[in-house]
């Protein structure tokens, strides 16, 4: 597997006593409470450009620009600078933790294995839990953090995935090839939701597979906050743009179950690898009406998930996923045992979904949530339209090992993990050893006070009068990473990093 990947997760925030809650202030306070090793307020925003479109043009404005301008105007009344409001923390593990307008957001470092991603995602959860405890204890009003994607009032926030791909894969082939995959994978990647929504309003009760499937109305676009697209066209590689593209997936739910995350990211990476390896267009499934299929699959209480293919044939979401699985077998058969196991786990979950969806409750969030809450509903005689179900839904996502319902399931032994628990949970913060994140994290660990700025694709350090840039735009092979780590281990001061071919004086 050549593709590297990472997650960026926006978190919902509230308090036990939440009257007149200012979610922006809460998010800022939470992020600023972090004591994990890292450098603060040194994120380089000059390198960000969400207006470039992968279809070959630059949009003048995003649909959310007006909203964002209004938010900035509101936030201007706060006695804090832009940098203080964002409160970026770049961590020892190469991750980013910051306030994204009104949500604490944790971005994992770049990972090359699914086990590493599970570790880094769990590290983010642990960081958030520590912050909530600290802020809650100080104020006497517990902080409630929800790793979910909705407030049940039509306000959604995301858990985005990023996949680094070679630029030579044409955008149209990538977008067309992934569309049906992204629409149908909710059968295993959905986090489950009690209720349905439209933009800015609650629609009504009922259970559905995915938190996000109510919020997509475009096939492709560069937007992420309004009229969201199935396939996001943001062209911001955070790497050498001549060689790489970043496939930015915004349609997914935030998963509590590490097994669901493992399937969600692992299957996407395998399908992308098949596309990179030349899987032909005619082998890739296509849907007749992908925008209609997304909520229809999510809301199908028969759990048959029927859809119509572009050729007019009736099929199911599981069959579409199975077609993708066969494409992977033919064009990206994994030699690595870990990826071969992922392929087998994908096949098994599809078989279970077809045979008995409830059998997946040990792996999939939506099935675990549904079983648990329906058990409780039956035991307590709760009406199917009772808003209490939405509160229980929220509690499933609560990042609190003592009170969160997912954590209760985990502790009871009801949840299967994709890797041994001791290899992914409760570990010290450390970067992936085999991606450029190790250099970012290493620079912070060794020379934190001298780090002037950091970004995904560069770290700038000060050494006396010199400004030294470690350029990470093309550090993706094990050899390049090892070269960087060797130089870092030998360096006594930042200027020693100039021995690297990808470091220079600015």
């Amino acid at each position: 597997m050549q593709i590297q990947f990472g997650l960026e997760t926006e978190i919902g925030i509230s308090r036990a006593e939440s009257r007149d809650l200012d979610v922006v202030a809460e998010s800022i306070a939470l992020v600023r409470s972090a004591t994990a090793p890292g450098v603060r307020q040194r994120w380089d925003y000059r390198q960000e450009d969400p207006h470039q479109d992968a279809r070959g043009f630059r949009v003048r404005e995003l649909r959310q620009d007006t909203d964002e301008a209004n938010y900035f105007a509101q936030d201007a009344s706060r006695p804090l600078s832009f940098s203080e409001i964002k409160s970026d923390l770049v961590l020892r593990n190469g991750a980013r933790f910051y306030n994204d307008h009104a949500h604490p957001e944790y971005c994992t470092p770049e990972c090359a294995t699914l086990e590493e991603l599970a570790r880094q995602d769990a590290a983010g959860d642990a960081l958030l839990i520590d912050c909530a405890r600290a802020v809650g204890a100080e104020s006497g009003n517990p902080v409630l953090l929800y790793k979910n994607n909705t407030d049940f009032r039509g306000h959604s926030y995301g858990c985005h995935e990023n996949y680094l791909l070679p630029r030579q894969l044409p955008w149209d082939r990538l977008a067309d090839g992934m569309q049906a995959f992204l629409v149908t994978r909710q059968v295993f990647a959905g986090a489950g939701k009690y209720g349905w929504e439209e933009e800015d309003r609650f629609g009504g009760p009922g259970f559905q597979l995915a938190q996000r499937s109510d919020f997509f109305s475009e096939l492709q676009s560069v937007d992420t906050m309004q009229r969201r697209p199935l396939v996001n066209t943001r062209d911001e590689p955070h790497a050498d743009p001549a060689k790489y593209r970043r496939f930015h997936v915004i349609i997914g739910d935030a998963n509590l179950s590490p097994f669901a995350t493992y399937l969600k990211v692992g299957t996407a990476a395998l399908v992308l690898q098949a596309l990179v390896n030349g899987a032909p267009r005619e082998r890739l499934p296509r849907l007749a009406d992908p925008l209609a299929a997304l909520p229809a699959i999510s809301r199908d209480r028969d759990w048959k998930w029927r859809v119509r293919s572009a050729g007019g044939r009736e099929t199911t979401a599981v069959e579409i996923q199975r077609a993708y699985l066969q494409v992977v077998r033919d064009f990206a058969p994994p030699a690595d045992p870990a990826w071969a196991r992922l392929l087998a786990d994908w096949e098994q979950v599809l078989a279970d979904l077809e045979r008995d969806p409830g059998a997946t409750a040990d792996r999939l969030d939506w099935a675990a949530k549904h079983r648990l809450i329906e058990q409780f509903r039956a035991a307590e005689g709760i009406d199917a339209a009772d808003p209490w179900l939405r509160s229980l839904d929220l509690a499933y996502h609560l990042l609190d090992p003592a009170a969160g319902l997912f954590y209760g399931l985990l502790e009871s032994g009801a949840i299967r993990l994709p890797f041994p628990r001791e290899r992914i949970l409760g570990l010290p913060l450390a970067p992936p050893p085999d991606t450029r994140a190790a250099l970012r994290g290493g620079c912070i660990d060794r020379f934190g006070p001298q780090v002037e700025s950091a970004q995904w694709d560069a770290v700038i350090l000060r050494d006396g009068r010199q400004r030294i840039e470690v350029d990470l735009r093309d550090v993706f092979t094990p050899a390049r990473v090892a070269q960087g780590l060797g130089a870092l281990a030998a360096a006594r001061r930042p200027a020693d990093l100039l021995a690297l071919p990808f470091a220079k004086i600015l």
Partner: protein, 58 residues
């Protein structure tokens, strides 16, 4: 050029407890698996979701 605007057809989920047809069935609901989990669930404030309000994110 961006694709033309396409609105998904709103499809409200059927009333909870529905189903039918010849496809897979909802799982049988068993008794709650542990007392601890039941206790956790009883402690959930039924009105928590009513008070929960966030800004739209990405």
């Amino acid at each position: 050029m961006p694709d033309p605007i396409q609105k998904p057809r709103p499809v409200a989920p059927p009333a909870p407890g529905g189903g039918g047809g010849d496809g897979p069935r909802e799982p049988q609901v068993d008794k709650p698996n542990t007392d601890d989990l039941l206790k956790r669930m009883r402690k959930v404030d039924p009105d928590q979701a009513k008070r929960y309000r966030q800004r739209t994110g990405q």
